[in-house]
Symmetry: D2
Subunit: 228 residues, 4 copies
């Protein structure tokens, strides 16, 4: 191991989901003290309890926020699904940045890495609600990343797609011939990424090696989307 | 006049706000029958009443949705402001597309033009909530625009900034020396746009001349942002 | 007809190729006086002869520049093909802008519309040389469009793909079942555009209706690429 | 030291210029065997001699290609400057990829990291020729990166701006009050990057940690440009 995060105190949110387990494992391996909190990040008054429980201060916050994509035609978007996505992924991101970024700014340094999605970078028919919520996240990262840039706090996003995880790309789906053909046609890299590969990009953005990178939404999708 | 929208029935939402007045005026001048409904577009059950009152069917829906930007540091984002922005600008856009796009698809043609913002294309410190909500809109337009593309329904957005209007760029602000210097440094075009100029881009996207353009978020900001 | 370009004097370059015929036809229909010059636009000393022959001054210059895409693996890029693409599409664009934009700036108004490609917006394997040359064009339009923005000269690009034309998408290719399947999978709009549809976007950018739009590269590809 | 590039054989081109010295130093520190070749990368027949001299095979090629930006109004672009920029930065990049990527593909792995510029991502008035050449590079990286993605060869770019180096941002410029004010207004990070910081992003893209990232042009500009 390289101790690339030695002496860093890290909060990983929704740690039982999405990139949470992979990031927790890698960051621990690299010497970080990781506070991993499972479950959805609450908003409103409950958010105060959340941060009290989390402790801190943190050198690094990994805003890992996820919700099932609720795929289906736009005509059938369910109001509750819509609101759940924004309540789970978007408002908590704002709460996390609103709370932790000023504390980091006062401390003179800090990193927030949001694990978002490349979906809004191209737009996915049948996944329009999810694209909208992830687009809100990416836009918030860009704007708040620029706002906190002068304070030596770096806020950036891993905008991923086609990364192995049990919710979006379970192994039993990935291994089908149909999905393999889909990969060949749509993902230049021709495969899904391992969770640990996404975690490496998160680690780079969380480390002292990337202090000049701010407000950046970095596509991580095997070439499916290369723009931001 | 050119009658570029002759025989078109058009819904303009929140018609007393943002680009509403300018679009209503231009579209009428060009021969459209415009149903202009002032006020915020409701969601949930009230949305059904809204569309019943609006009538229809429409050839064109202009999703003109706006909210004060509530500028200020991210540290001070007010929960109510945050939710109001998403409730006013983002969820209504989804409701409008979810309702009207399938009807248009059944009819074999239709146009939805969203008047959004270029703010999330660059990111504006001190305006992160607004950037996030507008980013959600842009992402929804991109994804739903691609979803409805095969049905001959075109959904696109005018992503504007630095367009004259009483809320964001009132004349008494624009005419100050300070703002004029700001324009010179930040807006290559060196001036704010007239509302009628933004309305012309909306008209192009609403007209039969742009049937191949789908899911597109077009920056309209005098060169302030040129990416999407 | 609408006389949308009444009293406008327009230069269309390489008028026998790419979007040249379609633009010439539409612009004439709309009342413009069109000087259409067939053939590749020369560079170096011969460019002076070219502009002398063209006459002028022009209100509008359509920088329609094209070359066969020379598709094939990157490993097989031919040095002569590579240079021909840059000599035909990139350097002439610079020469046209370098010559005409300052004249337009002195006159107090003017429009340059470059007909480029969406290819570099996504990147096409097997077409990397073409992508590079078109990317050089798009970048030049963006930068020079911002440079001339304060002078009331608007420089923008139509970044197209999947537009019918004899070189890239001949009818005998488009009508095959294989290509139709390709369209269904890759182009949300599900069809190729008619040349006249691309010409309508060029007309919008060439008209007095778009004076606030500068340095913009607008994708026109039926949803194949929606970013810039 | 971390030996993050242990056992890697690396070619760094134009090693006496731009990011060359910084990359050579960092890569050596991390255990790589670096072949650093100073001077412009030739094209045509001389390119064969170049690669023969370089030796190989290489695990990693850093396509570090630079030319003075030749700033000035578009009206004054000198034909020789224009061609020199494309001959120095664009065609050599193609030659390097055309030669090395297929060899890497045969070997079953490889990395090409191009050090390009963020300039074309926003567009810089007075630097339009440079923007165009760098835009050609970025487009080539995107397209060729997707082409070689299935072969386990990763081609990506560091699109930088505001990185300290003697040609573009010499210390005597950076330290002036005028430039510091320029930084405050235009670069959210508020400072220029050290060469070593850019080299860290190049290292990440050159390492085994980034095998899922292909065809990506990553802005590295302290928030000046956050799009691609």
């Amino acid at each position: 191991m390289n101790d690339r995060l030695a002496d860093k105190k890290v909060l990983v949110t929704q740690s039982d989901d999405y990139m949470g387990p992979g990031i927790e494992a890698l960051f621990r391996d690299e010497g970080a003290q990781v506070i991993a909190i499972p479950g959805v990040v609450p908003t409103g008054d409950q958010f105060d309890d959340y941060v009290n429980t989390a402790g801190g201060p943190f050198d690094i916050v990994v805003a890992n926020l996820a919700h099932a994509p609720c795929n289906g035609p736009t005509a059938n978007i369910d109001d509750n699904d819509w609101r759940d996505m924004f309540d789970t992924m978007v408002e908590p991101l704002m709460c996390l940045v609103r709370h932790y970024a000023p504390i980091m700014a006062s401390a003179g340094h800090g990193k927030i890495v949001a694990i978002t999605s490349a979906a809004p970078l191209r737009g996915i028919p049948g996944s329009t609600a999810y694209c909208s919520a992830r687009g809100a996240q990416n836009a918030f990262v860009r704007a708040s990343g620029l706002e906190f840039a002068p304070t030596n706090v770096q806020i950036n996003a891993v905008a991923q797609n086609y990364v192995s995880n049990p919710v979006y790309f379970p192994e039993e789906l990935v291994s089908t011939e149909k999905f393999q053909n889909h990969l060949k046609r749509n993902v230049p890299r021709g495969r899904v990424a391992k969770t640990s590969e996404s975690a490496e990009l998160a680690l780079f953005l969380a480390s002292d090696k990337s202090d000049f990178i701010v407000g950046q939404v970095i596509p991580f999708s095997g070439g499916w989307a290369t723009n931001t």
